[in-house]
């Protein structure tokens, strides 16, 4: 029984400015059309249907307005059933002929003609539910620009100040308007740092050893090349305190200038052994150092190939057990001290270089 129903396309329908108006108007048109259909109509003309829907909406608006005014008259903000009955009577007028006089009794069932009529209508007429499922009104626009700011109560925040009520929208988060200096976090890699340090020490050591090699070649020619211990002793104290790789580089330079000294060569190792600074690296390093030192004393040619092997060993990074390491450390320390004493006893003259 669907006749020439008007197109319920919201875009084409009315000249409403807001989107919610178009949607509600279209829904009202559909409802009114259904009511007319129940009355007996088969077809509708679009202007007629639109105007009837408009009248129905105006009826609702007027009813609501009148009802709330009646409620306000008695000092209430919310309406009750009697307000609506009074509004109904006020809107359509009493058939008694009083001419719009609304008495206190007219809100009761006995007196209210309109209400009686409504009751009869409900009892007699067929129930026609709305044909389309209607979404929740009004439709919340989920666009970002229309997003509702939640109130303090909704967030669960206490407003900063007693004068601000809880139902007001909450303040934006401080990070949106405050700029604090950023701490640029550099990932600290202690193991990586130690490895880097050891690598640089090895570099310095390699340079040192190559220099020693050259000196040894010169020694093999017969002259004593070890530097003047007395002259170097003053520097020794300063050098022993510093352990960093950059300074070890400087040490190499100073050695080049002042002459080679076994004490200076061993200074980093001694310092590290004293501080207990770097466990694995130092033990490996001392392992390296010890054979070098011994070979120097035994034969001058032996330590030529060793730095390379030791560097490879470092890359492998064997990790000895801790108790073995401790024993080794003590052993090496003793040996290093022994060698040092021996060197001290035999002063080396580097001025002959």
């Amino acid at each position: 029984m669907n006749g020439e129903r008007a197109q319920e396309d919201p875009a084409a329908s009315s000249s409403g400015c807001s989107e919610s108006y178009e949607f509600s108007h279209a829904a009202a048109k559909a409802a009114v059309a259904q009511v007319c259909e129940s009355v007996g109509y088969e077809h509708f003309k679009d202007p007629a249907l639109e105007s009837l829907a408009g009248f129905a909406l105006q009826y609702i608006l007027q009813l609501g307005k009148t009802a709330i005014s009646f409620a306000n008259l008695t000092g209430r903000s919310q309406c009750n059933v009697f307000d609506i009955i009074l509004a109904l009577e006020d809107l359509t007028g009493n058939d008694d002929g009083d001419g719009g006089v609304v008495s206190s009794e007219s809100c009761s069932l006995g007196r209210s003609v309109k209400l009686k009529g409504i009751i009869d209508f409900v009892n007699s007429s067929e129930e026609i539910p709305f044909s389309q499922p209607l979404p929740r009104f009004p439709v919340a626009i989920s666009k970002k620009k229309m997003m509702m700011i939640p109130s303090f109560v909704e967030i669960g925040e206490t407003p900063p100040g007693n004068h601000i009520p809880l139902w007001l929208p909450a303040f934006p988060d401080p990070h949106t308007y405050k700029e604090t200096p950023m701490w640029i976090e550099r990932a600290s890699d202690p193991r990586g740092d130690k490895i880097e340090q050891a690598r640089q020490r090895r570099k310095a050591e390699r340079a040192l050893l190559s220099l020693q090699r050259k000196l040894v070649c010169k020694i093999s020619s017969g002259t004593r090349v070890w530097g003047d211990m007395d002259g170097v002793k003053e520097d020794e104290g300063e050098l022993l305190r510093s352990v960093s790789p950059s300074i070890s580089g400087e040490k190499v330079e100073s050695l080049n200038r002042d002459g080679l000294s076994v004490v200076e060569a061993f200074a980093p190792a001694m310092e590290a052994a004293r501080d207990g600074f770097c466990s694995e690296v130092d033990t490996e390093w001392k392992k390296k150092k010890k054979p070098d030192a011994l070979s120097k004393l035994r034969t001058e040619k032996k330590f030529l190939g060793e730095p390379l092997d030791l560097s490879l060993k470092m890359k492998g990074e064997d990790r000895p057990l801790s108790f073995v390491r401790d024993e080794d450390r003590d052993d090496k320390r003793r040996r290093a001290e022994f060698i040092l004493r021996q060197c001290m006893e035999n002063p080396v003259d580097l001025n002959q270089l």
């Binding site: 006749g3 020439e4 919610s20 509600s24 829904a27 009202a28 409802a31 009114v32 259904q34 009511v35 007319c36 129940s38 009355v39 007996g40 109509y41 088969e42 077809h43 509708f44 003309k45 202007p47 007629a48 249907l49 105007s51 009837l52 009248f55 129905a56 009826y59 609702i60 608006l61 009813l63 609501g64 307005k65 009802a67 709330i68 903000s77 919310q78 309406c79 009750n80 059933v81 609506i84 109904l88 009761s108 069932l109 006995g110 309109k114 009529g117 409504i118 009751i119 209508f121 409900v122 007429s125 129930e127 026609i128 539910p129 709305f130 209607l134 979404p135 929740r136 009104f137 009004p138």
Partner: protein, 134 residues
């Protein structure tokens, strides 16, 4: 005193009937959806959490529309049927809701939706309505 008592009793009866009616409203689903009615009532300032009152307003509006529509239907049926040209085919009166019927029906409710006449239809168009009626 008797009169007062009687009116008191009547009131109680009325109240009982009213509550019964409101309860029955919950069973009856009006054609105009609750959400729509609530939206428009909110526009006019009417605020009530009770669904029964919303339904009461919806039912009242439905009754109003039904009354107007039935009046318009009477007007439509009362109009003389169109001339049947073809004897074989008897055209049934198509019940169409038109502006004319609607304006006639709404006149009784005090609403004037009369369509303005076309300027060229009659010589009296655009003249003063009082003189036109004469």
């Amino acid at each position: 005193m008797n009169h007062g008592q009687q009116s008191g009793e009547a009131k109680h009866e009325d109240d009982a009937a009213l509550t019964e009616f409101l309860a029955s409203l919950m069973d009856y689903t009006p054609t105009i959806p609750d959400d729509l009615v609530e939206h428009y009532l909110a526009k006019s300032g009417f605020q009530c959490p009770d669904v029964r009152l919303i339904r009461l307003v919806a039912v009242a509006t439905q009754k109003f529309v039904a009354d107007v529509a039935s009046d318009a239907l009477q007007h439509c049926k009362a109009r003389p049927a169109p001339v049947v040209k073809d004897k074989k085919q008897q055209k049934e009166k198509r019940l169409i809701l038109t502006m004319e019927d609607l304006s006639k029906a709404l006149r009784e409710y005090g609403v004037n939706v009369k369509h303005p006449e076309y300027f060229a239809d009659s010589p009296s168009t655009g003249m003063d309505p009082a003189t036109r009626e004469e």
